[in-house]
C-alpha cells in the first residue's frame, strides 16, 4: 500500500494506492500538489489494480468508477476529485480554461476542448510564461485572483517543433501528460491577479494570429458559458461572470502558428 497526500486548493486528499504502479501514475499527474502526511484529509480515495488489467477507483470506501486503463484512471480521478473540491471551495468560480502567469499577472485561455488550449499553454510555458493550469482556472470572486491548479499538462497529440515534449511525459492510450518536473521553468505556486482573458479560435487559414477586444457583455456571456460551478454563486453566477469580465482585458485571439501566437500574447500583455 502506497499513500499519496495531495493539497488541492487547500483541500487535503488522501489516495491509498494498492500498488506502486497506480501510485506512480497519480504521482506523475499530481506531483505539484503533494504535501506532508500529518494532516487529516478532507477527501479519501483508494485505487486498486484489477486482473484483467484495469483499476478500481473508490471514494470514501465505495466504488466510484472502474477504469479500463491508465487514461481512464487519470480521467475519472480528475473528474471526481475536481467535482468534490468544487463543493468544498464555493468561494471560487471554476472556469474551464487554461491559466498562466506572466510578470506576476494571470491570463486565461478559454476555448472548447480540443481546440488547442493545452498546446498553446505548452508553447507559452516554453516562452517564459509560468504554468497555473491547462484545464481548470479557479478564480476567487472577491479578490479576482487566479489560483494555481498545476496538474500534469494534458495533450492529445505531440505539439509541433520546436515545442517537443520532455522525457518525463506519461503516454496513455489517448493522452500525453507532462508532469511539472518536465517543464523548462518553474510553475506558479501562488494565486495571481487576473489581468486578461483570451478567447481562442483556431484558424489555420487566417494567416497571422490576430487579437481584437470584445465587449464586456460578450466576455461576460462567454465567461458564463465556460464556468463550471455557477449554482454555487449568487444569482446563478451571473454577477460573478460579469465581475470577472469587468475587471479583465477581454480579447478574441485567432491562433495558428504557435510561435507567433505566443509572441502576440506577450506583446498584448506588455501594452
Amino acid at each position: 500500500m502506497k499513500i499519496l497526500i495531495l493539497r488541492v486548493l487547500e483541500v487535503v486528499i488522501r489516495v491509498r494506492c494498492a500498488d506502486p504502479y497506480s501510485y506512480g501514475l497519480l504521482l506523475k499527474g499530481y506531483s505539484a500538489f503533494v504535501t506532508g502526511s500529518d494532516v487529516e484529509p478532507d477527501l479519501e480515495y483508494s485505487v486498486n489494480s484489477l486482473d484483467p488489467p484495469g483499476f478500481e477507483l473508490l471514494f470514501n470506501n465505495e466504488l466510484a468508477q472502474t477504469a479500463e486503463d491508465e487514461y481512464d484512471l487519470i480521467y475519472y480521478f480528475e473528474k471526481h476529485m475536481t467535482m468534490e473540491v468544487q463543493k468544498l471551495r464555493q468561494d471560487l468560480l471554476f472556469m474551464h480554461a487554461a491559466a498562466l502567469e506572466y510578470n506576476g499577472r494571470a491570463l486565461l485561455l478559454v476555448a472548447p476542448s480540443g481546440s488547442g488550449k493545452s498546446t498553446t499553454t505548452w508553447a507559452l510555458i516554453n516562452s517564459g510564461f509560468r504554468y497555473l493550469s491547462d484545464e481548470l482556472a479557479p478564480i476567487h470572486t472577491g479578490t479576482l485572483q487566479v489560483h494555481p491548479y498545476p496538474h500534469a499538462l494534458c495533450l492529445k497529440a505531440e505539439p509541433p517543433k520546436p515545442f517537443s515534449l520532455p522525457d518525463e511525459t506519461l503516454h496513455t492510450s489517448y493522452t500525453l501528460h507532462v508532469p511539472v518536473e518536465g517543464f523548462p521553468g518553474d510553475w506558479g505556486r501562488e494565486p495571481a491577479p487576473l489581468a486578461a482573458i483570451f478567447f481562442l479560435r483556431y484558424d489555420p487559414e487566417s494567416g497571422e494570429p490576430q487579437v481584437k477586444p470584445i465587449s464586456k457583455g460578450e466576455a461576460g456571456a462567454r465567461i458564463y458559458s465556460n464556468a463550471l460551478n455557477l449554482l454555487a454563486h449568487a444569482r446563478y453566477g451571473l454577477d460573478a461572470a460579469v465581475k470577472v469580465a469587468g475587471h479583465s482585458l477581454c480579447l478574441e485571439l485567432v491562433t495558428n502558428d504557435l510561435r507567433k501566437t505566443c509572441d502576440l500574447i506577450k506583446s498584448t500583455l506588455q501594452h
Partner: protein, 86 residues
C-alpha cells in the same frame, strides 16, 4: 398591443449591454446597446408606437427608420421569449 418583460429572468447590465439569463431554456442572451434600450423600456408595458417615439428621440433618427429597428428588435425579443404581449 403592449409589450413587457417576461418574469423569472436574471438580468445584469454591462456597460450599455445587457446579459439575460433564462434558466427555463438554459440560455444566456447578450443584448447590444440598442436592444438593451428597447428591453429596458418594456419594463412596465409599452406599445410599438411609443417605443418608436422614444427610440427615434434617443438615437436622433427619423420615425420610419426607428419603426423598422424597433419592430425587428421586438420580434427577436419575442422569439427568444424575453418579452411577452399583454
Amino acid at each position: 398591443m403592449q409589450y413587457r418583460k417576461r418574469e423569472n429572468l436574471t438580468v445584469q447590465s454591462v456597460d450599455e449591454e445587457t446579459l439575460i439569463l433564462d434558466l427555463d431554456s438554459n440560455h444566456i442572451h447578450q443584448l447590444n446597446p440598442t436592444a438593451s434600450f428597447i428591453w429596458e423600456l418594456c419594463g412596465g408595458g409599452i406599445s410599438v408606437d411609443r417605443l418608436t417615439e422614444l427610440f427615434a428621440e434617443n438615437y436622433d433618427i427619423d420615425g420610419k427608420t426607428a419603426r423598422v429597428d424597433v419592430e425587428n428588435v421586438v420580434r427577436q425579443l419575442l422569439d427568444l421569449g424575453l418579452i411577452k404581449t399583454d
